[in-house]
């Protein structure tokens, strides 16, 4: 059990981030959407701890509420693609034959697009917005999970306990859900955790290009985009959400790294 101790600080940090995102409106000291031009572009002071943006909105409150948009959207996206991709891969690996070939060719095509090139084009064509950005990233990210799940299922397809379950009268669908899925969950979860940092950067990147969250929504990438011309005069408008992205990505990357370390040693034993 001791090796799991290494995970604890990172789990705590990640949970803290998610708690902030969950209770963002209650935590934010000021209204993130209240405009007051008389206090526009103030540098950080006692009232506005991270300064104000060009509409006089409190940057700290926007960063806190923005965590909800950025982290919430990335996490929701992660769950959809990891579950969806895993199901596709598991079915392909378990059924084999034509379904397998068709699904794998489809994943070849999805993998042939450079990820962000494709995401930018799809998000642009769908007309921007968080949902379009998420759809764009989902369309190219699922093969990662499909291929992993397929490989894992192929490894265990000939295991005796699956035959035993079949003799016991379980249907193929039941076997897939009750016996195959639980056994491939761990590596999938490790991969998904390590993937979250990248997803946050991609979602924020699309918003930065104006293809994700739309104003006035508080979202980290979009906040940085709106403040781009203020870099020289009011750098706090850009640096604050930028550092927020960096911290969130760092925490999830560290958690992913540690999780992989712990589970890899587990597999080697």
């Amino acid at each position: 059990m001791r090796k799991y101790h290494a995970l604890i600080p990172f789990v705590i940090l990640a949970s803290l981030l998610l708690v902030v995102a969950l209770f963002a409106p209650a935590i934010a000291p000021l209204d993130p959407y209240a405009q007051d031009l008389s206090v526009a572009l103030l540098p950080p002071d006692d009232t506005y701890l991270l300064g104000t943006d060009r509409y006089g909105r409190d940057v700290l409150s926007r960063v806190i509420v923005g965590s909800r948009t950025t982290l919430g959207a990335s996490l929701a996206l992660l769950i959809v693609i990891s579950v969806g991709g895993t199901l596709i891969g598991a079915v392909a690996g378990y059924r084999g034959g034509k379904i397998d070939t068709a699904l794998m060719r489809l994943s070849d095509v999805a993998l042939a697009f450079p990820a962000m090139v494709f995401a930018i084009a799809v998000a642009g064509v769908l007309g921007g917005g968080l949902v379009s950005a998420a759809v764009a990233i989902a369309l190219i990210s699922w093969p990662k999970y499909a291929r992993l799940a397929r490989g894992l299922v192929l490894q265990m397809r000939s295991m005796p306990y699956l035959a035993a379950a079949r003799f016991a009268g379980r249907s193929e669908t039941e076997i897939l859900i009750y016996h195959v899925m639980p056994n491939i969950a761990a590596p999938i979860i490790v991969t998904a955790t390590a993937h979250l940092g990248t997803l946050i950067m991609e979602m924020a990147g699309l918003s930065f290009l104006g293809l994700g969250a739309m104003p006035p929504t508080a979202e980290w990438g979009a906040m940085m985009n709106n403040g781009r011309s203020l870099l020289q005069t009011s750098p706090w408008v850009i640096l604050s959400p930028g550092i927020a992205i960096f911290i969130a990505v760092s925490i999830f990357n560290m958690l992913g790294d540690k999780l992989r370390d712990v589970f890899d040693t587990h597999l080697n034993e």
């Binding site: 090139v117 930018i120 084009a121 064509v125």
Partner: protein, 322 residues
Amino acid sequence: MIEGIGLRKYIAGRLVGLFFVLLGVTFFTFFMMQFAADDAVDKMYDDRGAVSEELKAERRHELGLDRPFFVQYGTWLMGLASGDMGKSFISGKDVFETFIEKLPQTIWLMAVSILMTLTVSLPLGIISAVKRDESIDYIIRFFSFIGNSLPNFFTALLLIYFLALKMNLLPIMGNSENMRSVILPALTLAIAMGAKYTRQMRTAILEEMNKPYVAGARSRGVAESTILFKSVLRSSLVPLITLLALSIGSLLGGTAIVETIFMWDGVGKMAVDAIIMRDYPIIQAYVVWMSIIYVVVNLIADIMCDYFDPRAEIYNGGGSAP
């Protein structure tokens, strides 16, 4: 090493696979654009006041937007093969010409950033692996972790803020006349990539160092530096080729964001501008050609790896063929 016929057969197989992948890529790209294509004509007349529906319909007919889907796809595919991808909805210029005109700028930017990445990350990766768990290793790993967690648009803005605005060291806006203007955008791309390569290089060397032949060489009294440079590094470079080919993909995507920030006149900025203007022919050309470049580069890298790596078993399909 693969002998003549086996290799030729293998490459032929991969080329057939490539053909189907590209068919899928072009089909999907075309389908995607059709999905939203109707308001392209509306967009064209957006700023010209009220225009009659008849005129719009006429314009759609002119552009071939009213023909059945598969006819349009077929026509477009034939055009693609002959380098004719239509005219830009906005500028009216030939799409393929516009693309080819801007491509060298992007390739130049990518080449400089790959060069920067390799010159920094190879030595750092080697030092980090050789001095494992010493303070220098921790420092290198710390910085590569930071580089890995910075999104490129934030890196770009940080570099602009500190190097260009605060210290006045480098120009911000990019153009080909000024050689120094490539430094900031290339550095932006190189930081994330260098961080990844340093880690990969370290892992690859450490894995190789654990192999029995290294212990064998050590026990025979072969100098540590000879083992490192003659054997370990050589085999560690094979995964590096694959990684390099794969990172062309993220590099191609990264140039879109970085070129936009630095006003670098390459295909990435062209694509982002085209998306804002809903200039579909340009977006199509961009997605299709970027994917073709990416897939072909990966195919070449795969073949190179299989060719140089005696362990790859491509005869029985166990190699890196998907």
